[in-house]
Symmetry: C2
Subunit: 406 residues, 2 copies
């Protein structure tokens, strides 16, 4: 081992002025100790690459961020950390930052579609794998890279992108998002410094796609001219995804219901019955997996968006338990996994509603729903601060301040 060490030192010193050596050293030396970008929950500013790693992980910690079902990925927790970190470092303005983020998210969805269901089924976490390419696009755009440099950055991240679904249920899941965000910042930075990469790191024989069980349908990447971004889906309930469609259907009914509730019938897809159908939950955590109890919460006006609604106290609440006991859950194969119908019978009559999470959310309703979710999570004041920041042009510097000081 000692001889290998001496040989390694010799070879490393002999190669220290090679172009690739100068490039990688320039990146790490330039960023060292620089306060380029902000972190959630700490007053420090850090190198953009480190901030992207942290913010990707932190913002996916609750698994409460947006989803795109076309490729099954969480685009914002990967692309936004990369875009914000680079925007802060480059002192970009709000519109440029938002535009780069939009292109990055759209790219991640399309790369995800190109990789295809075979890639996801094999075990790859699209959030991280496809996400790394989206993060690279956003970072490259904000750095003002040329087309050739952007291609190099994407061909380079092909050897860096990673992330496995087998980490689900552990901290490895949010870490995957952070990995992808920092990979994007790193590869765009290296391309700007002149790093070279495979000419086609994605689709070539042993590129990222073929080596990672990709389906590689180019037509899906091209997306026949329409934007996939529009069908992005936000989470509005801090509980199991399987309950969301039923909760959304119930919430639309609440203003119409009159009379005492006698019975609530929820119809869902059979796959959810083994996932989130705990009849009498005993803890706050079990409430998250209970159609009956979450339905009672929604009908009683208790926020299913707030994290602290899912407490042991709420699980034991007598009035909620009484209402929950009137819930019946049934399943039918013909229902989409993303959909549910609810029927509420009262002394005054029958009230019915359906909801499908896969339907595009109504753009006019979204801002108010998202702001209400923000307030449920953080309080009215912080939510108002965040919204003011967004209205003032999404200035990266101002958003960075929010992250550090809220």
């Amino acid at each position: 081992m000692r001889l290998s060490l001496l040989d390694w030192i010799s070879v490393g010193l002999a190669g220290r002025d090679e172009p690739v050596a100068q490039i990688i050293r320039t990146m790490v030396c330039d960023e060292a100790g620089q306060g380029q970008a902000s972190l959630f929950g700490d007053a420090s500013r850090l190198p953009a690459r480190a901030a992207a790693l942290a913010n990707g992980t932190i913002s996916h910690a609750l698994d409460y961020d947006d989803t795109h079902f076309a490729h099954i990925g969480h685009p914002s927790v990967v692309v936004l950390p990369a875009a914000l970190a680079v925007a802060e470092a480059e002192k970009a303005e709000g519109p440029a930052f938002l535009n780069a983020a939009l292109l990055g998210v759209e790219a991640s969805i399309r790369i995800g579609l190109w990789l295809g269901r075979s890639h996801y089924q094999a075990g790859f976490h699209q959030t991280a794998t496809a996400g790394a390419f989206g993060a690279t696009v956003a970072a490259a755009k904000l750095m003002g890279l040329s087309t050739a440099q952007t291609e190099t950055a994407l061909n380079l991240v092909a050897t860096r992108a990673s992330g496995l679904k087998s980490q689900f249920g552990t901290m490895g899941k949010p870490y995957n998002a952070g990995i992808a965000a920092s990979n994007g910042v790193e590869c765009a930075t290296l391309a700007r410094l002149g790093m070279t990469a495979a000419q086609d790191g994605l689709a070539t024989g042993q590129g990222f796609g073929p080596t990672h069980s990709g389906t590689l349908e180019t037509a899906l990447f091209d997306a026949d001219g329409h934007w996939h971004f529009d069908r992005i889906s936000h989470k509005f309930h801090a509980c199991c995804h399987g309950t969301h469609a039923a909760l959304d259907a119930l919430i639309t009914l609440v203003p119409q219901i009159t009379g005492e509730i006698e019975k609530i019938t929820i119809t869902t897809h059979p796959r959810w019955l083994s996932v989130c159908n705990i009849k009498v939950p005993r803890t706050g955590l079990e409430v998250k997996f209970s159609y009956a109890h979450t339905a009672a919460m929604a009908l009683s006006g208790l926020s299913t968006a707030a994290l602290d609604s899912f407490s042991d106290k709420v699980a034991g609440d007598v009035a909620l338990k009484s209402l929950a006991s009137r819930v019946e859950v049934q399943a039918t194969d013909t229902m989409a996994e993303t959909a549910a119908t609810v029927s509420v019978r009262t002394a005054s009559g029958q009230f019915e509603a359906s909801y499908d999470l896969a339907d595009p959310q109504l753009p006019q309703a979204l801002p108010a729903r998202l702001k209400a979710k923000s307030a449920a999570l953080l309080g009215q004041d912080t939510a108002a601060d965040i919204w003011r920041g967004g209205e003032k042009g999404a200035d990266p510097d101002q958003i960075g301040t929010l992250l550090r000081t809220s």
Copy 2:
């Protein structure tokens, strides 16, 4: 995109005190601006994670480092950057540093054998993929992680390890070594901070092995009690690997040869004839791919270890060209790809030798050969400095100084 941004900020702020958020933030904040570890060719000291990335890339830039043929990987350029960076950061002593590096290299070879030829053939660069696990072992050992923490670090790097052979011929190849080294430092650091990971990130259904075309022969990992490390192979010639066995055979002959050389016959495996058999090279680069010219250099006592021996001037040297014109190259299927025989006919007689790179290198001959290579690359003085460092117990701090100041 603006709404997704506002939602992302809200969800990130709401998750900022989650355990995984605290862990990832602690890592990047703790390392920020710290001068923990040294780089080849720069006076700065940097965070260990960044130093590992840079030194892995820099030390593989010349592709002149050691190789292990059992799994086809370059172990030292991945494991040593991780081990040295962590050893400097942890102020470890020489023996602990060498021991951790040895365990890391052995682990990388065994993981590489477990991943198998199917993994390599599918397109994965074992240096980087298997290497990341070895770097993790070395880093974990130097951090003093418990067995459980080390398992977590390995299960975590399973979602981070990457590297494709399709980057060969570009800067992406040495970058792969740097990626693996920094992945090892990062995952060991996160495991120490309490990060969780999949219980079996490697062999489980959708672990690293099955998702990356692994053969997964556990018996090869177990290695029936013997160490693979011993068969590590060092490069001694700064030219195409195909010429090495013939050059080593010729160099053993040189002291015996008497009389004027009339004819040199080199017998090699047929696969090399299309790789490194340029009869009359016109440039220094072409000399690297010429049996005839490199043989003439070796027989004339010109170092084939020195990078600057491969110059256009050497290509045009009349005496070398004359000697090279007497070389005949022939191939036979029965020769191993790693072997060659040479026969030199002079007025005084016939001199013959064989060499196989796959044979374990004689331990007693290695130190002198490696020191001569170091001197050919860096000059006698620097080589002597490096060797003194190694003899003085491989002190990480002293080695770091060598990297920064040589």
